[in-house]
Amino acid sequence: MGEMSAVGLMGGFWSNQPVRVALAVGGCAALVCAVVGLSTVMRRQAFAGHALSDVSGAGGSAAYLLSINPLFGFLGIAAAAAGLMEWAQVREARERDLLTGVVLGAGLGLAALLLYLDMTVRSVSGAAITVLFGSMFTIPTSIVPVALAVAVAALGASALIFRPLLVTTLSVDLARAQGVSVRTTGLIQALALALAVSLSAMTVGAILSTALLIGPAAAALQVARRPASALALAVLIGLAATWGGVALAYQSYYWTPGHGWPVSFFIVMLIICAYLAASAVASRRAGAPAAVPLSGCQDH
């Protein structure tokens, strides 16, 4: 494909309404996920984050059934599940793992039922694909302001608890000594996680949104040495992967004529490439241990 035609495609790219919506919603999702993902990875809540995003799929399916804005569906169930897990929180890591698994299983069962009802009652045959794997080019324009509002709320919540959360992550006792309410901090963090996950479920779909939540943050934590630079890097990786994925998917209509490749596929693959590149950089550095205290995501 020559330079000229690529430029021509890009011209159509920017003036295309579904593409603009995809870029806007995807941008919000990438930004919020990078910020919230950092604390999720540092608090070793990757499995919980994954469970929440999978479970939010039930909400997305319910939204089709009730014909409401899918973002509200994702959000409602994700917030409910986050609240449930935070409320039933158990001390032991072992029990937490099991509880997460059980909530995940129940939520997925619910998603199975709702998707089935979508297909039979509403006869929306593509609901399973849209909810679970996302379809960015079919996001209605009306979602953009809602997505922006959700993004602002999530970023605000994260900024509010940034310091207490950082202290709590390092040491719960230290946080208590400084007068931090560990419980409230945990709840606000769970809420921010729910907001991030539902935005990302709109973008890459419920069962792939883990990639957007965990990937950029984990990659950034491998190479960055300070929280601020980790944050900047995570945002950069998330945005680049999301927008790059949209552009590649747009181009892919020309690879297999008349049939585009899924956007989610490109986004996830770009994120994984970024993670692998970050791993390579981290392992090449002789002083790799410098990044260890920040990342905190080693196997326990």
Partner: protein, 261 residues
Amino acid sequence: MLHAWVVATLVAVTAGCVGFFVVARRAAFAAHALPLGAFPGAAAASLMGVNLFWGLAGFSALGVLVIGQLQRAGRREIASALWLSGALALGVLLLSLSGRYAQSVYGLLFGDLLGIDTTQMVVVAACSGLTVALVAWVARPLLLDSLSSELASAAGARAAALEFAFLGILALATAIAVPVVGALLVFSLMVGPSSAARAFTDRPWRALAIAVGMCLATVWSAIALAYLTNWPVGFFVGVLSALCYVVGRLRGGTAALAHVT
């Protein structure tokens, strides 16, 4: 319907046996990641028109290698989360290219009991027999290793080999269970009943028997309810497994359980 019944019973027995060790070894995430990672295998099989089982078995085996490798490199949680996202994304691409989209995706993720034929039933029977035999073979060292890896290595067991054996068994169980209860719900059948079983006894082998019994009860009621209501079987499996866990929590409390596993 008879096929479905027989296959689901075999799957339940296998899931109960394997689930006991999933809970004891805290491997819920691995039990979730392996079936999801096998998803592109099913997609590839449907693209090439071969038996679903071979695609699933192939990608489960690949999953064992990848997860085993990642565990050695540390950062298990992150890397397996990314790996399973990548595998799923690949599966979506394959399905999208094969043109068999919505219905087959739903069946693979949430299970499809009615799609089982006699050939599949024979394969499932053979494999679940093999899985249970393997579990019986490594059960003692595996349990010892789950309780205390120091004790196990003192007794001459090799931790790495045991972990590999465990993941292999998990993969085999995955390959037979995915077509029945679906890639997303296999692990809930393994985690829910087995974690509840710990509340009823503190003897490991009795807990294993109870886990198998609860799995059977879950699957049989799920099939019966699905038949009556015409709703998907995956819904009932997911909800009943969670119910098992709640019953266990109410019965036992968590502190008393800690020493069982």
